[in-house]
Symmetry: C2
Subunit: 346 residues, 2 copies
């Protein structure tokens, strides 16, 4: 399945966005909007926009100072997004929470490769719909971990020249934690909340998506993961669609209880310059992963997505020291070891 999506991603490109003065009620096109009470598209958009509101409110409350700056944008052919960024706050160095709704067209070859359509069928470009919430939260305190989460829904239109052919749809997403220092109780708490969300739907989800997360956030050239994982899944369509919509909703609603208690505990701990420099080095690794490997980022850069929304995932500051090796047995070494050898936390 990954190969297929790779093909799609390499050949799709999208229109230039323009700023909007106000948030629209919905980014759906008129024809989708008419079905807004029932369609998965509409319910997914509603879900991610509510998640954006509640996560931003929780982050502002924790910061106690800075507020999110909002940018609303749209594309001429339909769709758009809301980017919210809080920069240089009391607690947050940089926090971005974005939602977007994209209408695009997939070249016929990519679609045929994706769904294995018979080659005697006339090839026509296939319209698609994609919506998602994406967020990266970088705190200032080196003992407070970075969080990333992203939940997305993808759908193709039913091909017009083949009335019987089904729509294709997929869900993807995940939530993962990237500390510079390990507090075992924090990591256990974080993974437990992920497991609880998974277990409500399928007992195989947590072990499977935990491993998928460890495999995905792998910085190959370093032989290490960018952090301590969580859950990750992609191209998921072999379950009931309603069940997966509920699952994505549950995961989005789990972000605050999984993360905010950790931040509350760590945000005011005293730290040294040495500890701050180590956090900055790990931020450098975060940059390496996102620019070299992350599918969303590399896809976005290639297809002409909104650059500032895509790269808001990068930290405010990062650092690269030549040949840095933490002292064996040190706290820095323990973190690195857990990034090299992923652990079962619960």
């Amino acid at each position: 399945k990954s190969m297929r999506k790779g093909v799609v991603r390499a050949t799709v490109s999208i229109e230039k966005e323009s700023p909007e003065a106000e948030r629209p009620e919905t980014f759906l096109r008129g024809v989708d909007e008419a079905h807004s009470s029932s369609s998965v598209r509409a319910r997914f958009e509603k879900m991610i926009r509510e998640a954006q509101d509640s996560v931003c409110a929780a982050l502002e409350a924790v910061d106690g100072g800075a507020k999110f700056k909002e940018d609303v944008w749209s594309r001429p052919g339909g769709g758009g997004g809301i980017s919210r960024v809080l920069q240089d706050g009391v607690v947050w160095e940089k926090a971005g929470v974005n939602v977007s709704v994209v209408y695009g067209v997939m070249p016929p070859d990519a679609y045929r490769a994706a769904k294995g359509a018979p080659t005697d069928q006339k090839p026509v470009p296939v319209p698609f719909f994609a919506a998602g919430i994406s967020s990266v939260l970088h705190p200032k305190n080196p003992f407070a971990p970075t969080l990333h989460f992203n939940y997305r829904y993808f759908e193709t239109d039913a091909p017009k020249d083949a009335p019987g052919a089904p729509r294709q749809w997929w869900f993807g997403g995940g939530t993962d934690l990237t500390p510079a220092y390990i507090f075992e109780e924090d990591v256990k708490h974080f993974h437990s909340v992920q497991k609880s969300a998974c277990d409500k739907f399928d007992p195989t989800f947590y072990p499977r998506f935990k491993k998928w997360c460890d495999d995905y956030f792998y910085i190959k050239h370093r032989g290490e993961r960018r952090g301590l994982g969580g859950i990750f899944f992609d191209d998921l369509n072999d379950y009931d669609q309603e069940m997966l919509l509920s699952f994505a909703t549950e995961c989005s609603n789990s972000v605050i209880p999984a993360y905010i208690p950790i931040i509350e505990k760590r945000k005011d701990l005293p730290f040294t310059e040495h500890q701050k420099a180590w956090q900055q080095l790990r931020r450098g690794r975060y940059v390496e992963f996102n620019l070299v490997y992350d599918r969303g980022t590399t896809f976005g850069l290639k297809t002409g997505g909104r650059i500032e929304s895509i790269l808001v995932s990068l930290p405010l500051t990062a650092r690269w020291e030549y040949d840095h090796k933490p002292e064996e047995g040190s706290e820095e070494w323990k973190l690195l070891d857990a990034c090299i050898n992923p652990k079962e936390w619960i």
Copy 2:
């Protein structure tokens, strides 16, 4: 030609390196060493090692404090390198000057694509040789520009099963300047020295390699270049081999006169926090270019090159602000404008 090299690069992989206690006289294999007085391989290695010595001596003299740390390494099948890094000095935030000699094997398909061998010939893996000097110098002062230079030589062995078939060889390289602020006299001086080096060999070189440089160091997703250019060329083999060896030598010898006078003038200028933050933002763009587009970096990460040597090009510190836009007409805006619209400096 770029396509061909692309094919080669995607399919080559190299052995793991190990550290060496001392610099060897040469990294050439015995059979190459025996021809050391005459072969281009041997003369190129000698040239880049002398260039490494003289550039490092000049950089240490300017710094007046910190010294280069040296790492020597080798690969079991032959070849190796010397990495020299000066970090957190008086003048230099991070300065890396590396030489390497690589023996590798190109899969037959890549070689056939490269040289257009007749398809009725038995496909065999083709051994290749590559040697180069590569350097990135990041000063602390935001008015002192970053410099990058790299000169390399690539050669395939004559295929054993086709005695008449010729060796293939190419030269590549360039020197380019990346300031955070424009001092027109500095940029003119830098480009004039590049032009003088070029003009000694061919009057078409400077205009052609200046444009090639502007085209190469393009951050596509930003629509801007990483800096103010210089010269760049790749896969060059349609000139006399001796002439190109002399040209690469002349270019390497031009690094000090092109760059050091600029550093001397700017290294002690007073600056504000605002100016330092702008330099850090431009360093972020440097990271984006190197990790997303630079052929040497992306090739090195994929093939298992020495990671610390490859990523020494990344700055000690970098910064990403959401949606940063310099004020129109400001000094920051002028730099950005020159990165978006490359200028003729001389």
